[in-house]
């Protein structure tokens, strides 16, 4: 959409864009994959994305059957081609998601009319943690209640 920016260090097309605030001044750096991998900016958190993009992914070419987007395209752009790409590249993207996101599964809202699995999943995570705590505290009455709750939520999430 916008004009591709050139890498701040060489003439390649920049795919990694970094902003840094130092002394109240924001500096922006545009890097190509090669230069981003060599590091140089001080903020390690911002560089996680660059590292992840550079990590050697599966060598095999993946192509989205719906839109023709490939893993090579992703390496160039850092963006996917269509919603179905998430199916195609989901596995290959796991290490990246692990670095830039909190947890690998959605625990938030769902569109109107779609079962809010995310919210069930969040309750399941909370129930499992509470169960572990109850067992550790030897509160077996509470643990039994929580075990049933966990089973109910698991069944709701995996009806099969």
């Amino acid at each position: 959409m916008s004009v591709p920016l050139k890498c701040s260090l060489c003439a390649e097309v920049a795919t990694v864009h970094l902003s840094q605030v130092v002394g109240g001044k924001v500096t922006k750096v545009h890097l190509c994959e090669a230069c981003a991998g060599k590091g140089g900016a001080a903020d390690p958190a911002v560089f996680q994305l660059a590292d992840a993009l550079n990590a050697p992914g599966p060598a095999a070419e993946l192509t989205c059957p719906r839109c023709g987007f490939t893993d090579v395209d992703f390496r160039k752009r850092g963006r996917l081609g269509c919603p179905e790409c998430w199916e195609t590249f989901g596995g290959a993207l796991s290490p990246l998601l692990a670095k830039v996101q909190h947890e690998p599964a959605h625990v938030g809202r769902a569109p109107v009319g779609v079962a809010p699995a995310g919210q069930l999943r969040q309750r399941l995570v909370a129930a499992r943690a509470a169960l572990a705590a109850a067992v550790a505290a030897e509160d077996y009455e509470q643990a039994a209640r929580l075990r049933d709750e966990v089973a109910r939520l698991e069944a709701a999430l995996n009806p099969a």
């Binding site: 605030v21 919603p83 993207l93 959605h106």
Partner: protein, 356 residues
């Protein structure tokens, strides 16, 4: 509907009275896409156009956008697009392309960018600090949208987006904060590091990659997957509350420790704005930041803060040119900007001692 009408409709009482001392505005952004359609960056031009028209038609039919504005970027003049960016109604990226559009509610609180990085970027922007209220509006709009268009959603990954940094909730919650105290005290680096380490991004006035002129920063969540909307809002809310406390501590300490020197600093900025013949955008923003601080601390009447906030926008390059009526070069803008400031500050009283 045109950008001129957006500019003319500038006297919404909510927008004027909502300003609070540290948080200039609260924003919620939701990234959404149509199921089964290529993302804007990968779609071919005709597909992009078809998607845009489909989204616009659905949005126009929502009650929230009744009698609102539909602005197709391809039909807007360069200056008008820049004005929309300066008002935070569209992003620089949307304004730079031809395929995008913005649908804006009549009160300018809700806007949806069409064909930015994602098909739909729902945005609710309110003056001052109103995280829950802003979220509630965004949630209602999101529900209405889901009723009108089939959204790309996966049970496991949530709302599917073009970039992996938005997948899941697609939620970016942010506060625009004015931190002159922490900046003057030299603590901004430390604060930024602490926020970064706890998953919050700190950016400049116009978002990613922009200068932090006027001691104004945008603080937002970075992670969107594996956290619920409520988690994200609570986390941001916790840090903004903390940031506001720290900012006030820094302001009080500066005012107490520096005494007359501190008031002198604010008064000098007032003097520059009141009398300068040439003012660059960043100089004007930095001086206005001091004026805003003077209003917060009682060195100037608090009621003048809204005027200062308006000048922060009016002094932006595209706004200066639109007000002038034609494009200006950099020197011409600086001349016009200085005239705008002189005129606006004519009725301001002298900068006095703080009333802390």
């Amino acid at each position: 509907m045109s950008v001129q009408e957006i500019l003319a409709d500038d006297h919404d009482p909510d927008r004027a009275s909502g300003a609070q001392a540290v948080v200039l505005s609260t924003r919620i952004r939701l990234a959404r896409n149509l199921a089964g359609q290529p993302f804007p960056g990968w779609a071919k031009a005709p597909q992009r156009q078809e998607i845009a028209e489909r989204c616009i038609a659905a949005l126009e039919a929502l009650p929230r956008f009744r009698r609102g504005h539909v602005l197709r970027m391809s039909q807007q003049a360069d200056l008008d697009r820049a004005v929309l960016v300066e008002r935070h109604l569209v992003s620089k990226e949307l304004a730079a392309g031809q395929a995008g559009a913005a649908v804006i509610s009549r009160d300018q609180t809700c806007s949806v960018m069409v064909n930015e990085e994602d098909h739909l970027r729902v945005q609710v922007l309110r003056p001052g600090w109103h995280l829950r209220g802003t979220w509630n509006l965004a949630e209602q709009l999101d529900d209405a949208l889901a009723g009108a268009l089939p959204l790309a959603f996966s049970d496991r990954l949530g709302y599917l987006t073009a970039c992996p940094t938005n997948v899941g909730t697609g939620l970016r919650a942010s506060a625009m904060v004015h931190l002159p105290g922490l900046c003057l005290a030299g603590q901004m680096d430390k604060v930024t590091r602490a926020l970064n380490q706890d998953g919050l991004a700190v950016r400049g006035w116009l978002g990613e990659g922009t200068e932090a002129a006027g001691n104004i920063f945008q603080v937002s969540n970075q992670q969107t997957l594996g956290l619920s909307e409520d988690d994200i809002l609570k986390h941001l809310g916790y840090w903004i509350k903390h940031l506001v406390e720290q900012e006030w501590n820094a302001r009080r300490k500066l005012a107490l420790d520096e005494g007359e020197k501190f008031v002198d600093r604010l008064a000098r900025s007032f003097g520059v704005l009141r009398h300068a013949r040439l003012l660059s955008s960043s100089e004007a923003m930095n001086m206005l930041s001091h004026l805003r601080l003077a209003c917060d601390l009682g060195c100037l009447p608090e009621g003048l803060r809204d005027q200062v906030d308006r000048l922060l926008i009016e002094g932006q390059p595209a706004h200066v040119q639109v007000r002038h009526g034609s494009p200006l070069d950099s020197d011409g803008r600086d001349l016009r900007r200085a005239a705008i400031m002189r005129e606006a500050l004519r009725a301001f009283p002298e900068v006095g001692a703080p009333t802390l």
